[in-house]
Amino acid sequence: MKKLKYNFVPIWNKVNAKRKKAEGFIEILFQFAIIMSLIFCFLTLWKPFIYKQNLDYMAKTLVRAVEANGRINGDITALANDLKSEFGITPTISWSATYNSGTDKIQLRKKFTLTVRDTITIKLIEPSFGPPVAINIPIEKRFIGISQVYWK
């Protein structure tokens, strides 16, 4: 076998080292992008998550209040308004129940449904030169309660 005039091994080693460095750089770039995405998701989704928690808590409190009260009256509306202002949320609240005829009373063991609806806005980008890019996610939750008051 004829021996090559030039020794290419050192050049090949140099090229290989540079390629490895470039691979390492791309790897770090990807890792950085993944970490930044995770941080962005955490910061962006934190507020809607808390909002939903507050909405659930408010709905459960209202259902519990109607269960103990046995009627959907001004006290419940006032409680709903208090909870809305306390948590800074503005959901649409609707009740569905079978009332005692001509009253706002729900007989013992009769079920009622509370539906809360709202829209959560997730801002993706908020540029200074234009309107923010946002996603609106509608939320609808339904809670079922049972009257615990015996209307005689």
């Binding site: 269960e67 103990a68 013992l108 063991r109 049972i146 615990q148 008051v149 015996y150 005689k152």
Partner: protein
């Protein structure tokens, strides 16, 4: 070089092992926690309904708080069987499988002031390990309802 590669594999397998254990424990605890919350809510509803239904109004004028004990107990049992779909053995069966069994250890009804108290355990099986580990998980509960006059 070979030793290092082997070391990495062992750490990876360990990581997966720990991850599976932590996930399993989390799922089991979450299941137990949600079941306990559900049972507490339903038992509380059953007791409140039974107490309100069985109050004896004729004693109220005399400022005596009395309850019809047998009515209270039957109303309580009626709620459990109609609203929470328990069978005669206090078991909830879904798709031919026992999801949980309610074991009531003590039932106490007292008069003046009226107090209705129930305690016992909920017996269930693990979610993920039901086939591997044939054990029962007992979750205790204690619920109380009172009827109080304010006027």
């Amino acid at each position: 070089m070979k030793r290092k590669r082997g070391g990495t594999s062992v750490f990876f397998v360990l990581f997966i092992f720990v991850f599976i254990i932590v996930t399993t424990i989390t799922v089991e605890f979450y299941h137990a926690f949600t079941l306990k919350e559900y049972i507490d809510t339903e038992m509380s509803r059953a007791l409140n309904i039974a107490t309100d239904y069985a109050m004896l109004d004729e004693y109220r004028m005399e400022h005596i708080s009395m309850i019809d004990m047998s009515t209270a107990k039957s109303e309580f049992n009626s709620y459990l069987h109609t609203e929470t779909n328990l069978n005669s053995s206090n078991e909830l069966i879904e798709n031919g499988k026992v999801m949980y069994k309610l074991i009531i250890n003590t039932t106490t009804v007292e008069n003046n002031p009226v107090k209705f108290e129930v305690s016992g355990i909920v017996r269930t099986k693990p979610v993920l390990l039901a086939n591997l580990v044939p054990i029962n998980v007992d979750i205790p509960f204690k619920v109380k309802a009172r009827n109080q006059r304010y006027e």
